[in-house]
């Protein structure tokens, strides 16, 4: 039983990696630009989840010295990945916004969202 729980511990890693792979799969196989952007976002989320879970400590607390918990330093989870994820999320948001704007323009320009039809620039 404990062994299975041990494996369950890794479920969050598994989920994150699965998200990453799903996102990548979507970005690489879907033809619609919107779906590709979605895929990229999902991929990003997967990595963010992975980052957060790396910093986790078993039975840890949030890295906040709230009143009454000022001395729980050893139990606190690693705050660094959380800070990094915050930055990464914001950056991911910016990139997604730009991507969607580009998609809008591509659609206006080519009147299609299929990536394999938008190939004016090649070779």
């Amino acid at each position: 039983m404990e062994k299975y729980l041990e494996i369950l511990n890794y479920a969050i890693y598994g989920a994150a990696i699965l998200l990453l792979l799903i996102g990548l799969y979507g970005a690489l196989t879907k033809k619609s630009l919107i779906k590709i952007v979605l895929g990229l976002s999902i991929m990003d989320s997967g990595v963010h989840l992975l980052m957060i879970s790396i910093g986790y400590l078993k039975n840890g607390t949030a890295p906040i010295f709230s009143p009454g918990h000022e001395n729980e330093l050893a139990k606190m989870v690693d705050p660094v990945p959380q800070a990094l994820v915050l930055t990464a999320i914001v950056i991911g948001f910016g990139v997604t916004a730009v991507a969607l704007a580009l998609v809008i323009r591509l659609y206006k320009h080519h009147n299609t969202l299929r990536i394999d039809e938008i190939k004016n620039l090649k070779w």
Binding site: L28, D116, K119, W123
Partner: protein, 616 residues
């Protein structure tokens, strides 16, 4: 500041000034151009000092300049031709466009040749070599005819040669830790066997391109014939000699230390001889005088290479002597073509006829140079060829001498074709207006012709510097014992043995000519070619009585199999194949962003799978 630096700076400043002086006035530009050629020449010859060295120190590299006797000899050729061709160019460029462009590149390539000769280290050698290449490249495409093919061909071949040389240079540097030519020569003996073979081959490739050696010669016919003739005379006369200069150094210093010495010598000599033979045949076939001379140049360079490659003292003497002679007479001939082209507007041998009376001085120069080219005594060409044959025979290269002799004889055909085409034959109305070229063009030709004549009788004038040049690289001193080397010299050492005979013949000839002149003074009458009505049939105006069409057809038909395989075509096919291949490979950039992302994924996967082997 050493004199060499000053000369180079004068060249550079002069070139820049000349290029822009066209905005001021044409005369100023011409004057500046000539000054820029003459001043360095004077400076140079007033300050010849074999032992001095100038070093320009950069943090990584030291550029060393200095003179050797060999480079002094070549500097004679370069400066002499440059001055004469310079005057000629001023005449030829009268009223043409892009004068500044021509002058600039002309000066730059002269400067580069000078730089090559005074370079004592490989880097500055290479720098000047490349400057020479691109400045001559810019002149090859000067006429704008088919530049994409001709220019690129020239540049690609040059680049192949230059990069082979560069490869040799950096390898030498890595092995000896120095760029100095003398260090290369000293350190050569200690190199590994593979490097010993690789370095001379790479260097010879580099020099072989400029010397138009088979199979690296494909650029030459087009390049020589497409450049303006004032420059081609330098191009063929002096610039190609830079290849010979390099070859002489390689053969005298590096090849001698090789175990495979005789093999390489034979291969290069054979290549030279084959070059000579094939290009002579091609020259016969040409109808354009420029191309004819271009092929002829390649052939002549072939002889020179044979001489240099065989490498016995006599062969070396012959090679370098021929190099000098070739510079003299071939540049005269190119000048002749240029003059004819300027006056008639074409250089096609089929079209232009009967200029002998219109351009007598040009004809005289052409005649003398053709005689020198063909190797007929008593002009300079004969001495060189004799020495070459003799050296080949004494070193037991009988097959080689046969081939050389064959091409030399075949050369008569195109010599005749050239002379006949322009100057003899019937006078066409079309060319009735043609006048003699301006003096500024004719005088350089005549001066060069005079040199051909003088050297035929007094070859020692030039053999002496050649001898001291060779002695510098350890060749036994032959100058005082020339008679031991060749039967063309008499025991007194300084005269051609045939000279009395030649003089005898000449005197008889002159007396006969004078006799004829006086005898026929009253009775002679000028007739045109059409004036043959006495034989019963009056030719019409339009009937072509010259036999310029299909000149030497039977002969060409006989040698045609030998000419069917053209290096050009193979190389072009190769280039085409490469381009098709690249067209295929560039399809990996198929324009689909998703595909690029898939590449990225595959890149990662591949690296992950190979990671154990890649990194450890």
């Amino acid at each position: 500041m050493d004199i060499i630096n000053i000369i180079l700076l004068v060249f550079l400043a002069g070139a820049l000034l000349t290029a822009f002086a066209g905005k001021v006035s044409s005369i100023v530009q011409d004057t500046l151009f000539l000054i820029t050629i003459i001043v360095p020449a004077i400076l140079f010859f007033l300050n010849i000092n074999i032992n001095s060295e100038t070093v320009i120190s950069l943090s990584k590299i030291q550029l060393t300049f200095g003179l050797t006797p060999l480079s002094l000899f070549f500097a004679f050729i370069v400066f002499g031709l440059a001055i004469l061709a310079g005057f000629y160019a001023v005449g030829q460029m009268q009223g043409k466009k892009r004068k500044g462009y021509l002058y600039f590149n002309f000066l730059l390539s002269i400067a580069a040749m000078f730089g090559i000769l005074v370079s004592k280290d490989l880097v500055s050698f290479f720098i000047f070599w490349e400057i020479m290449t691109w400045s001559s490249y810019l002149l090859v495409i000067y006429n704008g005819k088919n530049v994409q093919q001709i220019g690129i061909k020239y540049f690609v071949m040059s680049a192949i040669g230059a990069y082979a040389m560069l490869m040799a240079i950096v390898i030498v540097h890595s092995l000896t830790g120095s760029f100095l030519i003398s260090d290369m020569i000293d350190g050569f003996a200690d190199m590994s066997a593979g490097m010993k073979l690789l370095i001379p081959i790479l260097l010879l490739t580099g020099f072989g391109v400029k010397a138009a050696l088979m199979p690296l010669h494909i650029w030459a016919p087009d390049a020589y014939s497409n450049a303006p003739m004032s420059y081609t005379s330098v191009f063929s006369g002096a610039l190609s000699k830079m290849g010979i200069y390099g070859m002489v150094i390689v053969f005298m210093t590096l090849i001698t230390k090789l175990p495979q010495e005789s093999l390489i010598r034979d291969i290069i000599a054979w290549l030279g001889a084959i070059t000579a033979a094939i290009s002579t045949l091609w020259a016969i076939k040409q109808d354009d005088a420029k191309r004819l001379l271009a092929y002829s140049s390649i052939g002549q360079l072939g002889y020179i290479v044979v001489g240099v490659a065989i490498g016995t003292p006599l062969a070396m003497l012959a090679g370098l002597f021929l190099a000098f002679m070739h510079g003299v007479f071939k540049s005269t001939l190119f000048m002749v073509v240029g003059a004819v082209e300027k006056q008639t507007g074409t250089s096609n041998l089929k079209e232009v006829t009967g200029l002998i009376r219109k351009m007598p001085w040009t004809f005289l120069a052409a005649l003398i140079s053709i005689i020198a080219l063909a190797g007929i005594p008593p002009l300079g060409g004969f001495v060189g060829k004799w020495m070459l044959y003799e050296s080949l025979i004494t070193s037991n290269h009988y097959l080689l001498v046969t081939l050389v002799f064959f091409s030399s004889t075949a050369a008569f055909l195109y010599c005749y074709k050239f002379l006949f085409g322009f100057f003899l034959g019937q006078e066409e109305k079309e060319w009735a207006h043609v006048k003699e070229a301006p003096a500024i063009m004719v005088v350089p030709m005549l001066i060069l012709s005079a040199i051909s004549v003088v050297l035929g009788t007094f070859p020692q004038l030039i053999l002496k510097p050649i001898n001291s040049a060779l002695a510098f690289y350890g060749m036994p001193d032959t100058y005082n014992n020339l008679w031991k080397e060749s039967m063309i010299f008499n025991k007194w050492g300084d005269q051609v043995a045939l000279t009395p005979i030649v003089y005898g013949i000449a005197i008889v000839f002159v007396i006969f000519a004078v006799f004829l002149f006086f005898k026929n003074r009253k009775t002679s009458r000028y007739v045109t070619t059409k004036d043959i009505s006495t034989s019963g049939e009056v030719p019409k105006e339009y009937e072509n009585l010259t036999f310029k069409e299909n000149f030497f057809q039977p002969f060409l038909r006989a040698v045609e199999p030998a000419m069917r395989r053209q290096m050009d075509k193979y190389m072009l096919a190769f280039a085409k194949g490469l381009e098709d291949l690249f067209d295929f490979t560039r399809r990996i950039y198929n324009g689909n962003g998703q595909t690029y992302a898939i590449y990225a994924l595959l890149f990662v996967i591949l690296l992950l799978l190979l990671s154990n082997n890649l990194f450890s």
